[in-house]
Symmetry: C2
Subunit: 324 residues, 2 copies
Amino acid sequence: MNQETPLAIVFDPIRSDLQRVEDLLRDAVGSTAEPLRGMLQHVLTGGKRLRAAVVVLSGQSLGGAGQTLAQLAAAVEILHAATLVHDDVVDESATRRGRDTLHFRWSTQAAVLAGDYLLAQSVRMVTELERGDILAVLARTLTAICEGEIVQALLGDGSRPGRTSYFKQIEAKTAALFRSAAEMAAMLAAGTDAQINALRRYGLRLGLAYQIVDDVLDIGGRPAELGKPVGMDLRQGLWTLPVLLHLQQAGPSDPVCAYVAGERTDDMLVQAIDCLFSSGALDAARAEAARQARLAQRAVRALPDTAARDGLLALAECVLTRRA
Amino acid sequence: MNQETPLAIVFDPIRSDLQRVEDLLRDAVGSTAEPLRGMLQHVLTGGKRLRAAVVVLSGQSLGGAGQTLAQLAAAVEILHAATLVHDDVVDESATRRGRDTLHFRWSTQAAVLAGDYLLAQSVRMVTELERGDILAVLARTLTAICEGEIVQALLGDGSRPGRTSYFKQIEAKTAALFRSAAEMAAMLAAGTDAQINALRRYGLRLGLAYQIVDDVLDIGGRPAELGKPVGMDLRQGLWTLPVLLHLQQAGPSDPVCAYVAGERTDDMLVQAIDCLFSSGALDAARAEAARQARLAQRAVRALPDTAARDGLLALAECVLTRRA
């Protein structure tokens, strides 16, 4: 595996901008009463702030700056938090980022309401920017995320998706918000149509790379770094790219095939994971993530040569080489 | 009890406008795939469309008309549906309007996602109006509704609220959306500040009257007309106005007091309800609803003398004298 590119390379130059985002997130929490306050603090603490960084760097790459960019970044992080809270209810997950989920520590009721509150706050913060065109992107993104979730959670008949529908799923689940984060920032920074499109493509490809790396880490990551055991997606029957690539070439007696199709014991899981390593499926998925990251980088090469553009290029490396 | 004022008096003159709203709701459902389609159809069918009528009449009372007003009305009905779907998850209700709730017929997961989808659609439809000021009202309303729900569902320590906090609760739960429906319609119809304020007050008072009548019907309604047994709120420990008014004058051995404080048997419920009738608490709550309805009517008396204003006045009568 490649050397991990430390996120500090990306984050250090925009430290003060990200601090503004943190301040806005703290304000959003601080203005509420308990128990909501505690719940919001719980979910808004400890994220990597990748989406905020995408907003800040995308905006700055077109000469944008200041408080409105930070506000958009905070709104995107809050929307992200809202989707995580409701996702955890839908998936009945007990932990997230190594900590209790909201619905597990409080209740399903609390999680539904806190998620709604976060959605409302996200919309409110973008409304304050007084840019109806940006809000329209936010509303479309939220719709796309919901539709994607519904397809995955409710329509999934367990059958194996093809390449196209796999990409459609991860676009809705993960890449749509990255895409819109970059697009909205470019709009806020008054970019040209070509620049907005370039950053939109950047965000989409970055998001796809991010999700594929997530898929790879589920098999090839280290539990100590991940803060969770490997094989969680596999256990839950989620289709990840290494598994899909492996099954294209596997026979019915293959351990991965058997695990996916049949009773799932821990022994079988160990065998299946081993098999994904040795078949080259894991490497093939890594190669696909790298391809997406390169497409992200290519999308922004024509932008003005600024520190922010360099940050976007480096962020694609970070996403690709991350270990957690 | 007063003679029921038939809703047809209000609805007949705006039948074609409400048909537009229905068409928009059908379009919103029709553009989705199963199982979402079925879920949305389930929740968007069978409402009374009171909020849509408030939007249409408020807008028309200031000379507004046409497709944008219908679109706002549809967005308000969709937001209302979203809050109902998530409320039912939070309250774990199995029925609503005499039909299965979404989470009961499908699943909690489905209900969370369908509610989110409806929220996103509501925001999207208002965004399309390209009126940031109206969208800001929507975002604030959504925040207020969530905060109110959180207070009721999570903070409620079971202690009896005073008059002020009861009114605060029903404002957030019910009246805020009526208030904003009228306010947003007035803004869309380019009303003056005084007109917008008048309609905002109308919506608020109408919403308070509506909720108090709801409280009254829980005790004094007829099951056959309501489509549910009486005493459901009381059974669930929800504080309603008749109960609050009764307890102001009741001793600790009073049947209502005993029911609220102790073990709740069906026999005790029957006694408690009887007691609320005979103590005059039910009539006192009805009088309060009437007072709110009069305040609603007074708020719009200074508006131009139009059929739409007459509709708003009549709607306040309907809300007051409704039996279901």
